[in-house]
Amino acid sequence: MAIESPKRPGTADPPAVRIALITIALVFVALFIFIPVIAVFTEALQKGLGAYFAAITDPEARAAIRLTLMTAAIAVPLNVTFGIAASWAIARFDFPGKQMILTLIDIPFSVSPVIAGMLFVLLLGVRAPLGGWLADHNIRIIFAEPGIVLATIFVTFPLAARELIPIMQAVGSEEEEAAIVLGAGGWQMFFRVTIPNVKWGLLYGMVLCNARAMGEFGAVSVVSGHIRGHTNTMPLYIEILYNDYQFAAAFAVSSLLTLLAIATLVAKYYLERRVIPVKQEPDDLAVKVAA
């Protein structure tokens, strides 16, 4: 490792400090992230590959996987649509209540997911007026799939918007104005200029939103009712397996979620490097203009 250099620049810390800091960081990463991730996979495979595949192809496991994928497939597009609309409105226009929207967007982050779940039960459960009306019309939301989707949307609500707002603001509206002056219509401007300028941020927001949607436990747990094969998402199913002392099966399903998380992180890593918008430098002396 090239930690020590013979001449240390004035702002660098002494080698001992640097080695200590790096060691602490590495030990923490190993202890709290690397070893548990390895443990998930070793536990999952402790009864052999046969048991592993049996666990993840079990009908109940498949139902949980299906429900998780479906929930994400609904929550992510909706939140991305909302994120684009909100960030565009906030970055481009001044309107009364703008600051309030910015604050409200963050509520799902600041509220505990369990409370978020409770909120939906209180609002739509059979004992609430609205829930009673829904029950009378045979529309099931709480303890059913729609409740899970709603809770997931609530919890992942800020992710896309929060990612897009600063990027939209940094990009500014000049290019959009240029597109309009050049004869583009509103949708042409949107798809040819606005979206391409924020596309990496948008993808990043989608990746984060997807990861959270698939992994959400608290809010979903409250509204789901844990009906096996029906309202169990992957995280809920894992808990049930674990409580049933089916450790290998629990870890097998966990390993799927972990793989998903790793894939998300890899995607995030590549996207993050492209999110920073390319600035147009005011001038570049390297290339001189020919008269």
């Binding site: 240029a178 002056v181 050049l182 042409q188 040819r192 918008p277 147009q280 020919a290 008269a291």
Partner: protein, 356 residues
């Protein structure tokens, strides 16, 4: 296409950006809107383009009210101060954009797009950069791509917001000459905004001097420079020395120095006779000996011989700083040195006097 502005006003909150402006621009003219930042010149340009809606008044293109015409249908070309090139598109695609967003039946086919884009890139001498992205270009190159992109939609009016503002002095000079030639070639009605009086004087057929949302003077470079209609214009269009004096019997007194006036703009306060004199640095002469009441004493503070003229800074007898520009020949014969006591003599005819 001619442009007519009638009683245009625009407020942002309590700030009056444009205050009841009337202006007529002839077909094929190249007009400069000249003013400091905050004078309303950019707002006025954006109103012409349709990017801002005026609170009152109307914009007429070719005699017809354009207020109801949307920006995309106005057939104006707008070059933004920071170019606003589409950063995710190549130079070629930037220039082709205006053609690609046309309604299907008006859209030229791919071969036609190719031909026109390359023609335009040749016009701005950047054909070899067609595949580059804006971030790979220099400021001057971006400016010319922005211009080519604007010309691609065959606008009837060309509007440029501080077209050379972000460029260094040398590139700015070259682009200025190039734009002048281009305008002579294609004769498109053009309006550009600038805060650089030199740029306006060199480039424009007519100059509109703006201040705090209204027009101070409209005229050719010759008119606004040599016959400014008021002190603001005189002050804005070049370096100037200010002297407080008074007018008596057609003569201006600065301290004890009297200057004969041939200037029709000489107005003093009717009761006190007080006036402010504006004198450009090159309209003062340095002499070594006093000459009665035509000269006043001053001490040389600093000398800057770099440039076509020697810039001398002096302190007048009564404490005011005075800037004088003299030729290098004159500088040699005077043997000026810092600290020398000399005399200043205004070259009378072109003084500007304004009442206070």
């Amino acid at each position: 296409m001619s442009i007519e502005l009638r009683n245009i006003s625009k407020k942002f909150g309590d700030f009056v950006a444009v205050d009841n402006i009337n202006l007529h621009i002839e077909t094929g003219e190249l007009v400069a809107l000249l003013g400091l930042s905050g004078s309303g010149k950019t707002t006025l340009l954006r109103i012409i383009a349709g990017l801002e809606t005026p609170d009152t008044g109307e914009v007429l293109f070719h005699g017809e009210d354009a207020s109801a015409v949307s920006v995309r249908k106005r057939k104006v070309g707008f070059v933004f101060q920071h170019y606003a090139l589409f950063r995710h598109m190549t130079v070629f695609e930037n220039v082709a954009f205006g053609m690609r967003v046309l309604p299907r039946r008006e859209r030229p086919n791919e071969a036609e797009v190719q031909r026109r884009v390359h023609d335009l890139l040749k016009l701005v001498q950047l054909d070899f950069l067609a595949d580059r992205y804006p971030s790979q270009l220099s400021g001057g190159q971006r400016q010319r791509v922005a211009l080519a992109r604007t010309l691609a939609v065959e606008p009837k009016v060309l509007l440029l917001d501080e077209p050379f503002g972000a460029l260094d002095a040398k590139v700015r000079q070259e682009l200025r000459r190039w734009l002048r030639r281009l305008h002579d070639e294609i004769k498109i009605t053009s309006v550009f905004v600038t805060h650089d009086q030199e740029e306006a004087l060199e480039l424009a057929n007519r100059i509109v001097v703006m201040n705090q949302g209204h027009i101070e003077q409209i005229g050719t470079a010759e008119e606004v420079y040599h016959h400014p209609s008021n002190a603001f214009v005189y002050n804005f269009l070049g370096n100037v020395n200010l002297f407080h004096g008074r007018i008596e019997n057609g003569r201006v007194f600065i301290g004890d120095t009297a200057v004969e006036l041939e200037n029709t703009h000489a107005h003093a306060h009717p009761e006190t006779g007080k006036a402010v004199l504006y004198v450009r640095p090159h309209l003062l002469e340095i002499v070594l000996r006093p000459n009665g009441k035509q000269t006043f004493p001053a001490t040389v503070k600093s000398i800057n011989p770099a440039g076509p003229q020697v810039k001398v800074e002096l302190v007048a007898e009564w404490g005011d700083m005075v800037q004088v520009e003299i030729s290098h020949e004159r500088y040699e014969t005077l043997h000026l040195q810092t600290g020398a006591n000399v005399f200043l003599k205004p070259k009378e005819q072109k003084l500007f006097v304004y009442q206070i």
